[in-house]
Amino acid sequence: MGKVVALPVRPRREPLLPNGVLGMLLFVLAEIMLFAGLISAFLVVKGLAVEWPPVGQPRLPVEETAFNTGALLLSGAALAWAQARFRRAPSTALRPVLLAVALGGLFVCFQGVEWVGLVREGLTLRSSTHGSFFYLIVGLHALHAVAAILALGWAALRLAEGRLRQDTFASVQLFWYFVVGLWPILYWQVYF
């Protein structure tokens, strides 16, 4: 936390995790519990249902989403690559960060296209609990993805100006890894 204290030299505590990273870690823990709540609610309702998906409701596009999942995972890998390059020479990390932003953007856009198709097939927020949960859980994840992409874009901007600090970058990364790591679980639980 680059704070200069104008006092006689005194031993500073070297924290285990920088403030930004610890703060983000705690936030991510709360977010994990939020999604855990949603997933368990979904599983309870699914378990009570006689037939799943409910009669007359379309099947979710499992294969297309598998491709989409791949894009998101690659985006996470690109960011890990960016971190490796950042450690050696910060300026070289810009391109992988932008790649991660682009892949993340692709994921969100693809989801949008998928939703339009599903609404056309008759799966809406009100059509059944299946639709309600699908749009709630996947939509909430998409909102997180958009927020994380904006944060990554901001980090890229700082990086281009040469003003990105390691701990700031680390906390943004942590949020993106949360969004990326959460998705396969949602995909597995909601789509299958």
Partner: protein, 570 residues
């Protein structure tokens, strides 16, 4: 996370001349200083306590004298009654206990007690209060909209809360839900700040076991809050969708499950009890050691016990649902975990009593409150055992026995804990001493009527009186003169107790303006906040302290003084 930049330019060594120039707005309305944000939470919490107390007065008058024109409110209609009890509960827990015990004391105490100049994320801290204030406004707005305020109980069980046809408050219930959700966001931000600050900003030399218990308790409470609030936020979003967008998450006719809400609510709701209990326990620990002039008995035991309580508290939630149609085998498991959790809490009470044993006890006003906390909370804890056992709970469920039980826990936590803390830290907060004589009058004037309110309610509960009944005249076996006399006794006691709160307000305002100037360390305490000036300036310490020992070294043999500040080298 751009918030790691320092909140203010590095302070010069003394005098802090540039702080004098701050405008009224940046000092009092949009402050970054943790003490001022704590004050904002404190005064908002006190104001909300008055609202919650007024609600209690109104519906207690209706219960004791059905159909009366209540002075200050008028005739209480059934819808009014429901809205009043609902919002009394919600306000007292979400807008009084949490902001005062965690946010106000946490903000004020954590940086001072761990010896640093401010929270690590001061701007997030300011945002936390602003969101909290917004939640207050939304809650007030819910009273003013068409259809009136939400009246579906503070637990907001669907289907009553989910559909406007049932609740008859199409807007009020959604605004209520929104206010609760905003309040959670505020405390999430505050909690992140508390934990990060306590972990990363401690004064040099302060090891984990040198952290004062109250700081540990607030940190643990924040961790528990963050881990439990997620599922309820998920449930709140689902309920909001059910109310406003026409989904059927909790509608069995459309494949939903109303009991699901109860699980999501109580998964948060039960840890929440300990989220507010632990800070109160911490405040009591500080006060007891200072005024018994004795080392806290078994510091590490208290700490590990609190950790254990935190973990166990996540496994007890379904004891609220024994009659909600859950599997009886599940009820067995939750009975066992619920009875288990009384062990660590009892252990903490024993530790406090062991701390008192052999001490040179000083019965100052804060000490009286701390002792009263143990005594009254014990009654709440013991009556809880009957409710934790599923067999007994089937009989007691939703009766006044439950109501009296949780008021014997929440009143000590939120009110006694608050008074203990405020009378103890008032000199540090405002630089003046409170009047001790008025403080004691206020203490006895609160404690005796408090028991007068809730002891009769245990008897009424055992007689079978159901909660949430607007008028008992329609129930012949509950409308007997004997039972009505108990209701009147409870209401009269409440009036007396509310009257005595004026003594506190007078004492507070008078001491603020004309109280005796407080010395730096009036109680001769060890913890770091007492080594800063009273009241501490912006930046807290003239020289940031270094810590040499634990917080509870009182009456150490061989020392001339009976206390040993944490930052004193020798």
């Amino acid at each position: 996370m751009a918030e790691t930049v320092p909140s203010h330019p590095p302070a010069p060594e003394e005098g802090h001349p540039h702080h004098e120039e701050m405008s009224f707005w940046s000092k009092y309305i949009f402050p970054l200083d943790h003490k001022m944000i704590g004050m904002q939470y404190l005064f908002t919490g006190i104001a909300m306590a008055m609202v919650g107390g007024f609600f209690a007065y109104t519906f207690r008058m209706q219960l004791a004298f059905p159909g009366i024109e209540v002075p200050g409110w008028g005739l209480v209609s059934p819808a009014d009654y429901n809205a009043l009890v609902t919002n009394h509960g919600a306000i007292m827990i979400f807008w009084v206990a949490m902001p005062v015990l965690i946010a106000a004391f946490g903000n004020f105490l954590i940086p001072l007690m761990i010896g640093c100049d401010d929270m690590v994320f001061p701007r997030i801290n300011r945002l936390s209060y602003q969101i909290f204030f917004l939640s207050v406004l939304v809650l007030i707005a819910s009273f003013l909209v068409e259809g009136g305020a939400f009246g579906g109980a503070w637990t907001a069980y669907p289907p009553l809360s989910a559909k406007a046809e049932y609740s008859l408050t199409p807007l009020g219930s959604s605004l209520w839900l929104l206010a609760v959700a905003l309040e959670f966001v505020a405390f999430l931000l505050g909690g992140i700040n508390f934990i990060t600050t306590a972990m990363n900003s401690r004064a040099p030399g302060m090891k984990m076991y040198d952290i004062p218990i109250v700081v540990w308790m607030i940190v643990l409470a924040s961790i528990m809050f963050m881990l439990s609030v997620g599922p309820l936020v998920a449930g709140a979003v689902m309920l909001f969708f059910d109310q406003q967008l026409g989904t059927g998450f909790f509608d069995p006719a459309r494949g939903g499950d109303p009991v699901l809400w109860q699980h999501l609510f109580w998964f948060f709701g039960h840890p929440e009890v300990y989220v507010v209990l632990l800070p109160a326990m911490g405040i009591v620990a500080e006060i007891i050691t200072v005024f018994a002039r004795k080392k806290l008995f078994a510091y590490k035991t208290v700490l590990y016990t609190a950790f254990g309580t935190g973990i166990l508290s996540f496994t007890v939630w379904a004891h609220h649902q024994f009659v909600a149609g859950i599997d009886p085998r599940m009820a067995h498991i939750f009975t066992i975990t619920t009875l288990l959790i009384s062990v660590p809490i009892a252990e903490m009470c024993f530790v406090y009593i062991a701390t008192l044993y052999g001490g040179s006890i000083r019965l100052t006003t804060p000490m009286l409150w701390a002792l009263a906390f143990i005594a009254e909370f014990l009654i709440g804890g013991v009556t809880g055992i009957f409710l934790g056992a599923s067999g007994a709970d089937i009989y007691f469920h939703d009766s006044y026995f439950v109501l009296a039980h949780f008021h014997y826990t929440f009143f000590p936590i939120a009110i006694i804990g608050f008074y203990a803390g405020i009378t103890y830290w008032f000199p540090k907060m405002f630089g003046r001493m409170l009047d001790d004589r008025l403080g004691k009058i206020h203490f006895w004037g609160t404690i005796i009527p408090f028991n007068g309110i809730f002891l009769p309610l245990f008897i009424l509960g055992l007689a079978g009186q159901h909660r949430r009944i607007y008028n008992y005249e329609h129930f012949p076996e509950l409308a007997t003169p004997e039972l009505q006399a108990l209701r009147v006794l409870a209401t009269v006691s409440l009036l007396v107790m509310l009257g005595f709160q004026l003594v506190f307000l007078v004492n507070f305002v008078r001491s603020l303006r004309r109280g005796e100037k407080a010395p730096q360390n009036p109680w001769k305490a060890n913890t770091l906040e007492w080594q800063a000036p009273s009241p501490p300036p912006h930046g807290n310490f003239a020289t940031l302290p270094t810590v040499y020992r634990g917080p509870y070294e009182y009456s150490v043999p061989g020392r001339a003084e009976d206390y040993w500040p944490q930052n004193a080298p020798e």
